[in-house]
Symmetry: C2
Subunit: 327 residues, 2 copies
């Protein structure tokens, strides 16, 4: 089984449905801005999590399409609004929505995708109580995403956060997406309660693992020459798991060094290098790597209750997929 | 019956429920920003429309509270995001959310209220198919509000729009709110299909009437001294029904005058006065007034099918309420 081919097969199927769902609409100016990002491609990882989870409980994936569309629209709505908050200029190699269409239209386009996601949920052909159950989970995880986004912003202004706080932030900001996608895929696929719980656990752990692995990849990509992004993350005091671990474990002169340089926008190249060396010395980079691997292992272990199938195999590979990525 | 007392009674009851619903939440920074506007008071007109519509079909208003909260949260979410789009600094005599908490937190707080509105909808104690029916109407009108907001922004950049386009814009941006509030109040109150249709019609017409009356009030408030706002609306080329009527009916030199001055940010006081005089001369102000009165009359007429009751009387007075307002 080639995971890239399997993911692409599902993404292609999903894209046809998404394009159909986003066709038309008035005024054209609003709908064009709203289509800009969701139709710009992407791996469709969240839809894939829900589709493959459905398959793994022997469900019919056509039943998951409205949910998969809703997930992708919420993902894109958060990206559009986050890009405004972060003043980002590029996304998927294209100008961000607010750069291309202006900030007012971008805020409004994000809001439209938000409501279109709920419209898509109403296309689910399930009994009414399943509908309410799934939609309530949908509402709940979107609320957590808003909370996670705020935690992320709040952390920028705090010198020390502990590891539990960091994990809670990435759980809310990132992992709940995968958790809900997998769980809801299993519910809509008609899985047993054990299977639903297993896929919930799978999605949560995979989501946490992916996010921490991203932090690790960013900093481990090049051990001799520090990339510009890494330097800037140190100068901006970005709270990755690596930084959090280091800040919590440094003592004495190391602590003073961090206080002076980490989050100091004017830090020199040499100072940035000292912080980076401290990350290695205190084994903060190893810690992040091991934590990510641990979550991925837990994600895979959660699948034990599922019967063997191609879809289960694909979920196992999907868990490893992200931690095999190179820069 | 004193309408102010009757509205305040319902607003007070509603406020207690709203405050309870918005209590707590983590992180505090997000929830504080999200509570800033909805707990800053206001007439609670939209909740009142839904509560009194429920009463008018002999329903129990406690059943409408989750919907009323959802309506008020959506209203506040649109205000928070609109204030960012319009760069407004004050709202209900307080700094706007983005002025007080920064734009990123304001975007996020608006998004949170959006999702909390859906959370509130799930508190409705109704059978599942009524739930889906009402929620689908809720989704539909929010989509229209996004579309209306975009139309409003698009119209700023067009020289001529016709009256139908203007009416469609205010229908989507404002009137659907009152239409849905009244209709859903009747549904949740257990009204007959005739009653539900009547209250839908009532809310739509009242909403259109209110918005046009606002345009009329703004410009008719002082006939001798032109207020700063009126001058700015003319300089900014704001498309009210008055302006739309005038732009569509002016010919010859009058048309040239409008082309030169209306929407010209550098127009002098004297030029602004010439446009204002043209509004009067072409009876555009009268036209707006009569159109508003006509919608209000239609709103009241729609109530004919309802049995007589205090609540029906209150709805009749509520329709007149806004057009009795002074500046």
């Amino acid at each position: 089984m080639d995971i890239d081919i399997e993911l692409k097969k599902r993404a292609d199927f999903f894209n046809t449905q998404l394009e159909k769902f986003l066709e038309g609409g008035n005024p054209e100016s609003l709908y064009e801005a709203a289509r800009h990002l969701p139709l710009a491609g992407g791996k469709r990882l969240r839809p894939c999590f829900s589709l493959i989870s459905c398959e793994a409980v022997k469900g019919d994936i056509i039943k998951v399409i409205p949910l998969a569309i809703a997930l992708e629209l919420i993902h894109n709505f958060t990206l559009i609004h986050d890009d405004i908050m972060d003043k980002s200029k590029l996304r998927r190699k294209l100008p961000t929505v607010h750069i291309k269409y202006g900030e007012p239209a971008a805020i409004n386009a994000g809001d439209l995708l938000f409501i279109k996601a709920f419209e898509s949920m109403h296309n689910m052909s399930v009994d009414c109580s399943t509908f309410k159950n799934v939609e309530f989970g949908f509402i709940d995880f979107i609320r957590e995403i808003c909370e996670g986004q705020q935690l992320d912003m709040d952390f920028e202004n705090r010198q020390i956060i502990n590891e539990d706080e960091y994990l809670e932030m990435i759980r809310k900001k990132t992992a709940v997406f995968f958790q809900f996608a997998s769980e809801a895929g299993a519910i809509l696929g008609g899985g047993t309660q054990d299977e639903i719980n297993a896929l919930n656990e799978y999605g949560l752990n995979a989501g946490l693992g992916f996010q921490i692995w991203d932090d690790y990849l960013d900093i481990s990509s090049d051990e001799t020459v520090l990339g510009k992004d890494i330097g800037n993350d140190i100068r901006n005091g970005k709270k990755t798991l690596i930084a959090v671990h280091c800040l919590n474990n440094a003592t004495g002169n190391n602590k003073k060094l961090l206080n002076r340089i980490f989050g100091n926008i004017k830090a020199t190249e040499n100072e940035v290098r000292q912080v980076y060396d401290l990350f290695r010395q205190l084994k903060s980079i190893d810690h992040a790597k091991n934590t990510a691997l641990n979550y991925i292992a837990n994600a895979k272990k959660a699948l034990n209750v599922l019967p063997d199938s191609d879809a289960k195999q694909l979920l196992l590979e999907l868990a490893d997929y992200s931690i095999k990525r190179k820069m």
